[in-house]
Amino acid sequence: MSTERVIQSLVQDLRAVRRLPATGRRLSLWLAFAVPPIALIVALMGVRNDLWERLGEGLYLAEMLVMVATGLIGGYGALAAGIPGTRRRTLLAPIVPLGAWIGLLAFQYGREWREVGATFWLDFHCIPAIAVISLVPIATMVSLIRRGSPDRRAVAVLWGTLAAAALANVGLRLFHPVDSALMVIAWQFGTVVVLTGLATAARGHLVPNAPARTAGSTPA
């Protein structure tokens, strides 16, 4: 087909479309859907008894803030990835809070190792808890990512799932009483990594390569 014919067919197919809202607005929309279910689960489970005491500790507070930052910056990066031409530094920005999160976990683990040695026990309670809390944030994020361009879907799904799991982890830490560093790394952070990995591996099914059809337009 000649380029001329392609142009003609695209012009014939043109319909008015609603522009994708700015990334910040879409992030707010995601938070509006993602945070209430997390808050509801925290309310149902009941916040941990020592929460105020723990929030007074610098390390615990820093970790919570870093997880919130991973949720926000990761969410922004995921949604921005759906807009062609987004700057590379925006797409790479979630590495910063993620690195800080991993660094804090490593620091916590090193300190615990020196003070009391490695303490570890099986806690399968964390895995379904994070998976359930992450469900709505991940589903909402995926539906928002699908509205954008699929060209960078691997980055979008990677950061989107990470963001959702990070926010879910914040919720989990509000009611889950166990804070042993190795426990956190193995079960809580581990579940975040597994969820993110699974979603990224399934990105072709979550975000099809078929052109993300535009709102208000009839597919050609």
Partner: protein
């Protein structure tokens, strides 16, 4: 319409998003040589047909994701990001196809073959075929595009499209039936 000389395409794109076909046609015609030059610059040894394919794929992608063009953002970086992805996709497909191809050894003797049935099969022009493909429903068109034109396997097409293998089979079967119907060559 006021046209900014530094970025003449943004106002055209804004109008196209509102459904203005004249502005859209003008935009597509204007950017075609820009994409062409960009592809040539990035891949200087490309054959003309490859460059044309990439330009056309870029135009199609532009159309499909036009709603992602952000207000107040320059048009060119947005367009060239799409073109870069289509260029990479095209080269990836070429590499994959070349890795599957094997040179055929020249045969030492002439073989008898059944001649192609050109009497009972009406010839179909490529342009007409493409025109009919363009009018297929999106899932059928995607199935034909991935498996018929790009020659991907069912598994690869499924991974790329997000459609299941079964759905792809159904879509391609329906697409072929529609094409036969369009050309009056349905099985009797």
């Amino acid at each position: 319409m006021m046209v900014d000389e530094r970025d003449p395409w943004t106002p055209l794109m804004d109008a196209a998003l509102k459904g203005d076909r004249r502005a859209y046609e003008c935009l597509l015609r204007d950017v075609t040589p820009v994409i062409h030059r960009f592809v040539r610059r990035q891949w200087s040894s490309a054959q003309a047909s490859d460059v044309d394919d990439i330009v056309q794929e870029t135009l199609r992608s532009l159309h499909a994701v036009r709603h992602t063009f952000q207000a107040g953002r320059p048009f060119l970086p947005w367009l060239l990001a799409i073109a870069r992805h289509r260029l990479l996709d095209h080269r990836r497909v070429l590499v994959r196809q070349q890795s599957r191809e094997r040179p055929i050894e020249p045969a030492d003797e002439t073989l008898w073959t059944v001649p192609t049935n050109t009497v009972h099969e009406g010839s179909v022009s490529a342009a007409a075929l493409r025109h009919v493909i363009a009018r297929l429903p999106p899932r059928q068109r995607l199935a034909i595009d991935l498996m018929g034109l790009k020659e991907l396997s069912l598994k690869e097409a499924s991974a790329q499209s997000g459609m299941s293998v079964a759905a792809l089979k159904v879509a391609s079967h329906r697409a072929i039936r529609s094409l036969r119907k369009a050309f009056g060559t349905e099985d009797r």
